[in-house]
Amino acid sequence: MVKRLLIVDDEEGIVEEIADFFKDEGFEVQSAHTGEEAIQSLRTQLPHLIMIDLKLPDMSGLLVLKVAKELNPRIKAIVNTGYVDQNMVEQAEHLGCDVFLHKPFDLMKLKEEVDRLVA
């Protein structure tokens, strides 16, 4: 069964790289650049795993996480950010975030985590 990923990040380059990589690995990848797009996508089709950048142009990534978990708590979530704020980490974990990654993250590490969560 093909696993679906939703990548949410305002940084075009990052979304592109992750999407390309996981497509190559056999995942079905959706992408969104804003919170709005992400929520739209979630409502259309639930992914197995969502990867959210906390800083989005229109809203906090935490909100997207919250929406996703509300739609289906079984959705795995990886939250990442370039700026570490312990407060945010706690909030994310509280909302059901499974893994918290700091930018810049290692692609292999991401792969490991994704494999672990959706295997």
């Binding site: 380059g13 390309d20 229109d58 810049p104 993250f105």
Partner: protein, 767 residues
């Protein structure tokens, strides 16, 4: 022979009476008492003169005429005496005196008629004794009634009054009584009683007692003249006595042995007069001095003692105490005080007082006071009696003295009041040069005696002597006080400087604490700024780094799958890596560029435009988190705006804060506009005004008022420190400028900043 002796008593009586009457009249004519007294004296003198002529007469007709002339004087005596007594006792008795004088006039009109004196006949050894007519008895009765009445008044008055007046009355009473008793011895022979007028000489006693009263108790206010009068009278008496004696000796004794004749006796008498004149004069002077002016003798010693004592005293307090003590003990007075000119020459103050009760209230005497004025100008001691007299004698409150071209006005009533307040019987001024410096205030004598002219003159001398001593003492005290004051001031200065040092230490501590606090604040602010910077740098750098890292990872994976992979197949990755490296480089360059500029140092000439423009990238880093893209920033900064003087780093902090705040205020709206404009202050060309305006949410007045307070923030907890604007204000203040806010809820906010123009440039422009 007997007749001659009695005739000489008449002569002495005449001379002394006329002399005293004349002196009193000439010196005291202003006073009714004195005028009436001289009338009385002249009447006595007139009577005594003709008494002498009568007894010297060799012819019955002359004798009759002279005795009638003598009676003319005698008729005037009672009315004159009673009038004098009335005036002397300040008694009203106009009708009484009028009747008296009318009676006298009635008797006068008959005095040459046989009704008064019928004839003269030999009685005892008098050749021409008068035989009284019927009217004589009436006149004698009138005479006796008057004398008794007058003395009764005097006696009654004695019980009423005190002090000087009492003494005066005593002497007038006694003197005139003796005089009248003496005179009355004339009348026995009139009634054929064989008693010759032995005591006729007593008439002169009234003169002597009155003269004594004048000298001692200021009756009639004469002093010096009385001495001369008495000496003169005494000398006259002596001269006549010498003549009489010579004549007597020549006639009665020498004529038995040798023929001398009238000229011979004259020669002898002249010889006697020449021989005796000087010794007699000296004797009389001595006698008057000793008995009338005895105090002067004592005072010589008093003065010597006093001045010797005073010269040694240095302290004013000690000296005044000494003077007052001396005066009270020596003169034996109830109370005394030394009143001394105040240091500021405004008033006289009591320096030392003795003998006053516990509740003695006195006030200072201003220099304008009549008492001071009087003493300063008249330069004489003043006693209460004199003040009273002057008050009466100068109804216009001015006195006109002999030798003075203008009268001077003194308020004698005020003087009397002041003297009563000081409990002074007399005041003695003391001068230094021409200036009144101190006043000796003397109370009543313990004896109840009054101050005589002699007292006053001695006291005056004493006061003058003491003036120099007092001045010396005053200067000594002044110097002493000055040195004490200086010492005190010195101590105060020392204390003040000690306190100042303490205060300075405190201030230094406080300043240090303040600096510490400020440093702490700046650190906090820096940390906050750094934190925000770190956040934006994190995003700005971490995103490209992530891409870079992922590209590297993916290339490695591709290589593992196919070790023969060609570069062309992965060039896409390289290009991405290249572009992301450029991004990172750009971020790093911006940051280091900013840092470099801020290292340049403090307060330099800066272009406001550049400062703000260079702050913008920092702002963008800062606000990176806050989704504020699309905010329009508009600049209106004239190119020719003068350079400002400022600290770049600090000013950038200010603008960073303002931008950050503005962005936050704009966060909730779509239409975002920030406008920064600058201009030279119209009111002060050395200042530039920067208006920083946003169209954001604005704030209410309360917030606007508190916005610059430390720790005040409207941002959510954890987001705002409440330090930013506080720091802005602080930074502007250290620049010598200020920051104000104008805002309205919902209509945006304008911060107005003033910054100093860089002076050198300003000066160049002005030239």
């Amino acid at each position: 022979m007997g007749e001659a002796i009695f005739s000489y008593t008449g002569l002495i009586n005449a001379v002394t009476s006329f002399a005293l009457g004349a002196f009193v009249l000439f010196t005291q004519w202003r006073f009714k008492t004195a005028r009436l007294f001289s009338v009385f004296s002249f009447a006595v003198g007139y009577w005594a003169s003709f008494y002498y002529l009568w007894l010297s007469a060799r012819d019955g007709a002359f004798a009759l005429h002279y005795i009638r002339q003598a009676m003319l004087g005698a008729i005037l005596i009672p009315a004159a005496f009673t009038s004098f007594v009335f005036a002397f006792l300040e008694k009203k008795g106009f009708a009484f005196n009028l009747i008296n004088w009318l009676l006298a006039a009635l008797f006068l009109s008959f005095s040459f008629s046989p009704l008064f004196i019928t004839e003269v006949e030999p009685r005892m050894y008098f050749h021409f004794w008068p035989v009284p007519g019927p009217l004589f008895h009436v006149m004698l009765a009138y005479f006796v009634v008057n004398v008794i009445a007058a003395h009764t008044f005097l006696w009654k008055a004695l019980g009423r009054v005190r002090g000087i007046k009492q003494r005066q009355i005593q002497y007038v009473f006694l003197g005139t009584l003796l005089g009248f008793i003496g005179g009355s011895t004339n009348y026995f022979l009139w009634y054929n009683l064989p008693i010759p007028p032995y005591l006729n000489i007593l008439v002169s006693l009234y003169i002597i007692t009155v003269a004594y009263a004048i000298a001692r108790y200021k009756l009639m206010n004469i002093e010096i003249v009385i001495r001369r009068t008495l000496v003169f009278a005494g000398l006259m008496a002596f001269v006549f006595a010498a003549f009489a004696a010579a004549t007597f000796i020549a006639r009665e004794i020498l004529s038995r042995y040798l023929k001398l004749g009238a000229y011979g006796s004259y020669a002898i008498s002249i010889f006697l007069v020449v021989l005796g004149y000087d010794p007699i004069r000296n004797l009389l002077l001595n006698l008057t001095d000793r008995y009338l002016f005895q105090k002067k003798y004592d005072y010589q010693k008093v003065l010597k003692d006093a001045s010797r004592g005073m010269a040694r005293i240095e302290s004013l307090a000690h000296l005044t105490r000494l003077v007052i003590h001396f005066v009270t003990m020596r003169i034996r007075i109830k109370n005394a005080a030394a009143v001394i000119l105040d240091d500021n020459y405004q008033c006289f103050k009591v320096a030392f007082a003795r003998g006053y009760g516990g509740e003695w209230n006195y006030s200072v005497i201003p220099v304008e006071h009549s008492l001071i004025q009087y003493l300063s100008r008249e330069k004489e001691a003043l006693d209460l009696e004199k003040v009273k007299e002057l008050q009466i004698s100068s109804p216009l409150r001015g006195i006109r003295r002999k030798g003075e071209s203008q009268g001077r006005d003194y308020d004698f009533h005020a003087i009397e009041e002041k003297m009563n307040e000081l409990q002074a019987a007399c005041v003695v001024p003391s001068f230094l040069g021409k200036e009144l410096r101190s006043i000796l205030v003397l109370g009543e004598k313990k004896s109840g005696d009054v101050y005589s002219e002699a007292d006053l003159s001695v006291l005056f001398t004493l006061a003058q002597e003491s003036a120099i001593a007092i001045e010396n003492a005053r200067l000594y005290d002044e110097a002493l006080n000055k040195s004490r004051e200086l010492e005190k001031i010195n101590q105060q200065l020392e204390e003040a400087s000690r306190r100042l040092i303490l205060a300075l230490n405190d201030a230094e501590d406080a300043n240090k604490r303040l600096l510490d606090t400020q440093a702490q604040l700046i650190h906090e602010q820096k940390m906050a700024t750094l934190g925000r910077l770190a956040a934006s740098v994190g995003h700005e750098v971490n995103n490209p780094l992530t891409i870079l890292s992922m590209n590297v990872s993916r290339m490695i994976l591709k290589y593992r799958k196919d070790p023969n992979i060609r570069v062309a197949d992965v060039s896409e990755y390289f290009e991405k890596m290249e572009s992301n490296i450029q991004r990172i480089k750009a971020v790093v360059n911006t940051l280091t560029g900013l840092l470099k500029k801020s290292e340049k140092g403090k307060f330099e000439a800066l272009s406001l435009k550049l400062v703000i423009e260079e702050t913008l990238p920092l702002v963008q880093f800062q606000t990176y988190l806050d989704n504020l893209t699309g905010t329009e920033v508009e600049f209106d900064i004239p190119a020719n705006l003068p350079l400002i003087k400022g600290d770049l780093e600090r000013l950038q902090e200010v603008f960073l804060n303002l931008f950050t705040n503005a962005y936050h205020a704009l966060a909730t709206q779509k239409d975002r506009n920030i406008r920064v404009s600058a201009r030279v202050d119209e009111g002060n060309s050395k200042q530039i005004i920067v208006d920083f305006k946003d169209n954001g949410c604005g704030m209410d007045e309360e917030t606007a008022n508190r916005i610059f307070h430390y720790g005040y923030t409207t941002k959510a907890e954890g987001k705002g420190s409440g330090i930013g604007l506080y720091m802005c204000r602080y930074i502007l203040e250290i620049h010598g400028g200020e920051i104000k806010v104008k805002s309205k809820k919902g209509e945006g906010t304008t911060f107005s900043l003033t910054l100093p123009v860089y002076e050198e440039q300003a000066a160049r422009v002005a030239r």
